[in-house]
Structure formats: C-alpha cells, structure tokens
Amino acid sequence: MFLNKEEEQMLQGEYGEVVSKALTAIVKVGEVLGADSLIDISHAHVSGISYFNIGDAGIDFIESLAFEGASFRVFTTANPYAVIQGYKQRNFSDEVLSKQLKVVSALRSMGAKAFTCAPYFIRKPKAGEHIAWAESNAVLFANSVLGAYTNREGGPLALFEALTGKAYNAGVHLPEGRKPRCVVEVETPKNYLEAALTGYAVGRRCPSEIPYVKGLKSIKEGMMRSFLAAFGATSGAPMAVLEGVTPGWRKHGEKIKELPKVEVDDSEIRAVIEEGGKTHVKPDLYIIGCPHLSSEELIEILKELSSCRRYEGATEIWLITGRYVSVPDHLNRLNPNIKVLFDVCPVVTRLDKLGIRTVVTDSGKALYYLPKLAKVDVVIKDRYEIISEILRGCG
C-alpha cells in the first residue's frame, strides 16, 4: 500500500503508540480489501457502544485507549448507548449502569461529540465528502441520500479511523464500488410501515449487492430513513442507488437496463408482517425512533399526542432521539408514560431484563434486531396506527 509521509510517520509511532496501532489495523484491513492507499476523512462515526454488545472486554479496550491519552483527530460521533433510565419502576443493576457510563465517559474524553444513530443530524456531510461511519442506517443514508462516501465499517475499525483521521481507499470510496448490480422497482410506500417493510423485503432480495431502486423519489425524508434502516438490517450493502434521489444517480444511465431485475411484490412485503405474527398480544412498550427521530418527526408525534392529558394505558411509550432536537416547552412534559429518551437505543438494551416481553414499533430495523439483541417479541405497525392506539388509552 502506498502511504504518504504523514501516514508513514503515524505508522512509525511519531504520533504515539495508539495512532500507530490504529493505523496498522486500517492498513491491514485495507490491504485485505484491495486498497492501494489511504484517504483523509472528515467525520468518523463509531458503533459498538452498548455494554450489552461489547461486554467487559470492549469497555476495557475503549477505556484503556482513553486512559493512554488517545483523542480523535477528526469530528467524531458515536452510536447511542443502552437505555439506562429503566422501564416503569424497574432498573438495571448499579454495576450495569456504571459499566455503560464508563464507555460513554471514555468516548467523550477522546472527543465524541454526540451519541446518536443519526449522526447526519449533528453534522451533515456533503456530496462527495469522504467519511468513515459504522452504523448501517447512517452509512446507507450518507451514501444513498447525501452522496457522501463511506464504507460500512465495524465498531473498532471506525474507532481507529477516528483516532487517525484516515480510512482505507476501497469499496464505496471509489466510483467503481458505487455501481448498482441489480434493479428493483418498488411500489411507492404510502406510510412508515410500508417504507419499513419495503426496505426489509428489498434487503432480503439483495443481501449483499448495491441495488438501483425505482419508486422512492417522492417519499419524505423520515420514510426514506425508515426504508434504508430496514434495508440495512437485512442486507450487507453499504448503499442503494435511489432513482431521483442519490446524487449522480443519472450517470448509471443506460447500463441500468442490462442489470438483473429483482422483483419485490406485495406478498413478500406482507410476509414480513405475518412472520411477526403476534398482533393479538398485549404489548408492554411502544417504541418509535429507530433510527432516531428528527426534530420535525418528534414534534409531529408530540403534537398528535398533546390532546392526551391523562394516559391510562398500561403500555409505556418511548420516543427515541438525540440531543440535536429542540422541542417547544409545552410539548415537553406530556405524561409520565410518554417518555422522550435521548442518546440511547432500546434495540441494544436487554429489554427482557426489565420485564418487557412484547414491543410494538414502526421500525423495520427494530423488527429485525429486537428479538436478537433485546430478547423481546416484536409487532410492527404504522406510526399513525400506534399513535391512534395510544390516544385510545387516554382518559
């Protein structure tokens, strides 16, 4: 691999041992993936933040980096951490809480600016900008909607890229790596549920390749994020070329006609709902905000719920977002059962340990991951259907 003078010096330890080790990792991974050089990045986004995912070893590693005095060389954000304020009267043990907070403190001390799975609300990269993000929904939004360039990095690698400001120059950093390999025509989703299910189904049909997707041009940003998050759960691809949306989508031009066509029909989309199957079960919790809600989305939901002065339903409501939102005061304190949670993610939280068994959500990504990571059953419904259910529980 070709390295410039600065990179050579980093490797040789002139920027400290941590930087040297971090760059070694990036170079080695880059060599394996066919990179012939490194590139400078402007924004890193680190995943692997929840104590439930990274365990004691992960904490140990991140804490030791911070304690050695490591700091991020570029603007860095991190994924949300586990929900630590509990559910109803139940909480995690002090040990779990303090371990989760250790990770957060260590990352903050190295320079992490925010904890969210929607880092594009903190700092929006421009088209053509090279960044290094982990967290699939953010990677997909950056590449497919904003036209920024990032591979789908893993947690530790993104951490190293944050510490060095460098990424290996391969994959979607190169024009060749951004070409679609199949074409999917979808029916334009009319609501959040359809957006999520369509993404889920497209991901299943294109589990590893970049698809060229027709039919999403006119949907609003929140639904686009929902589509991409669900697609990222069932596919390993780092981007989708969205006709009429992705910067530069036109340049694929005539070549699109030569690509294999993948059909995603209605029955496939319905099948996703039916696999969940537990629609008759009474849920313990509603979750809206996977990925994290935008300011506009949160305000819209809170306005819908603002007529609810006394919520008497047994089901708690979590609206999940990041610190970038600003909510008018009168919408802020609605009801103790309607909680706006910041900087956290229920999907990476062992919800079963809080006594939660069934969750209702509008997210296709949460539908995929909640059973695996949070160990709970999931039912997927449209956002407005959830809001109506909540309003029916209001006194």
Binding site: A25, V32, G48, A57, D60, F61, G155, P156
Partner: protein, 131 residues
C-alpha cells in the same frame, strides 16, 4: 506421529518463531456469542488458550474483535491464529491483542482436524507440524 509442512501468508507475524499445540476447528466461528473468554473456550468445547488456533473463517458481528481482546485480557488468548480466509474482525482483534495472524495457503482447514493436539512451529511463511 505426524510430520507435515504447510505454507502460510504472514498477516501479522511476530519477530520470532511461535510454537505450540494446535487446535483445529473445522467450521466458521462467530467470536460474538461463541466464545467464553473467562474459560478460553469456543463453543463450550474447543480450548484455545495458548494454542495455535486454526479455523476456516470468522462470521458475524464486528464486535467480535473485542472478544478476541477479551481472551487476551483474561490470559486465555491463543498463541497464534491461522485462518483459511482473512477478515476484518479477526485482523482487528489480533492487532489490538498482539496475536500473530496467518492465512493458510493451498490447503483447506476443514481437512486438517486430525492435527488438533499436534505440536507445531510457525516461521518463515511455513508451519511445521511434528509430533
């Protein structure tokens, strides 16, 4: 008695030769979920502490790199890893844990399970099994 020499590509070679008892796993392993770092066991039965660990490939989450680091932190790391196919999870895990890493050339790890328990040394792009 086994006597065999196999070629490896050096991904993260140590300065000196590395010797130890071989442990071969004949299928892909997921570091996240399959490893008990406290006991140094993979899938509850393969003891990897201090061994030359061979497996065809790694699967699963990138958090797996931290599990390799966890094995090191608990004193249960393998002495070296020889994989059939390099992948980012294993590479990063080995770098942060200081574990030598090699990729097997021209042989299939799945066909080498009979080497478990044999002593071997890795040096100069070659593994010598003897014992």
């Amino acid at each position: 008695m086994v006597r065999l020499r196999l070629k490896v590509r050096e991904i993260l070679p140590p300065k000196e030769k590395v010797c130890g008892e071989v442990m071969v796993i004949d299928h892909g392993i997921s570091f996240l979920g399959d490893v008990d770092v406290e006991k140094g066991l993979i899938e509850g039965k393969y003891r990897v502490s201090g061994k030359l660990l061979m497996f065809p490939h790694a699967v699963g989450s990138t958090v797996g790199s931290y599990v390799i680091y966890g094995l090191r932190a608990k004193g249960n790391a393998p002495k070296a890893i020889i994989t059939g196919k390099e992948d980012p999870v294993t590479i990063i895990g080995c770098i942060i844990s200081g574990i030598p890493l090699y990729v097997l050339k021209g042989s299939d790890v799945k066909e080498l399970t009979y080497l478990s328990g044999v002593e071997a040394c890795i040096e100069g792009g070659e593994v010598r099994f003897e014992g």
